[in-house]
Amino acid sequence: MNETRKWILHRISAIILAPLFFWVYFSLISLSTKNYQEAIYFFKNPLFLVLTTILFFIGFFHVKISLSEIFEDYIHNKKIKDVANILVLILSIIIPTITLILLIYKI
């Protein structure tokens, strides 16, 4: 991906994530006082399911760009840097996908 595009997408993802994080934190803090049934009921709500999925996919997209920026600054060995970037890429695809599967089939 070219750097300018990466920079712009990083900002756009940040703008999408900010309200989502407010929502998810408020929800989780209040869910921490509630029981299992209410938590299940919460994530079964189609709107919340969609919001949680967006949070994970865009969240990990933001993580991917940010971490490769950090690696660029602190890891000087190119091989280690490449491996680190690939690991983050794999994680940022796998975790949101598992989340989506959990939300649809398991909860």
Binding site: F21, F22, Y25, L28, S32, I40, F43, L67, I70
Partner: protein, 128 residues
């Protein structure tokens, strides 16, 4: 390489911290912490899918002293990163670079992130 006279910067032992550099590195650290909070939410969903008895145990951990400490820390980290991120976005648009303005906006970010964390917990826990 033996004759390298370039100053090492920033030399952390004698480095005088400024609000700008403090916020810059905290923005990064809080970003990484937010990644862990995302992983905690992921874990939360996994436990939820494992059934009621596991979830009850998870709630017990989350509501313990350490659990609350971690959750409050994550809430602050998220609040800080978002507010500091807004500050960065304003810079990206070309405003707020004067030293005085940057210092004031930095102080506003720190104070508001603390206030926001308190508001989140009061609202989320149903005290307000």
């Amino acid at each position: 390489m033996t004759d390298n006279q370039n100053p090492l910067s920033p030399h952390l032992q004698i480095y005088r911290w400024h609000i700008s550099s403090l916020l810059s590195i905290t923005h990064r650290i809080s970003g990484v912490v937010n990644l862990f909070s995302l992983i905690l939410i992921f874990f939360w969903l996994i436990v939820l899918s494992l059934g009621e008895s596991n979830y009850e145990l998870f709630l017990l951990v989350i509501n313990s002293f350490i659990g609350k400490f971690i959750l409050i820390g994550f809430t602050w980290s998220m609040s800080f990163h978002i507010l500091s991120g807004i500050r960065h976005l304003v810079w990206d648009m070309g405003y707020g670079f004067e030293i005085k303005t940057a210092n004031i906006s930095g102080a506003i970010v720190i104070i508001s992130s603390l206030i926001l964390t308190i508001i989140f917990w009061l609202l989320g826990r149903g005290y307000i």
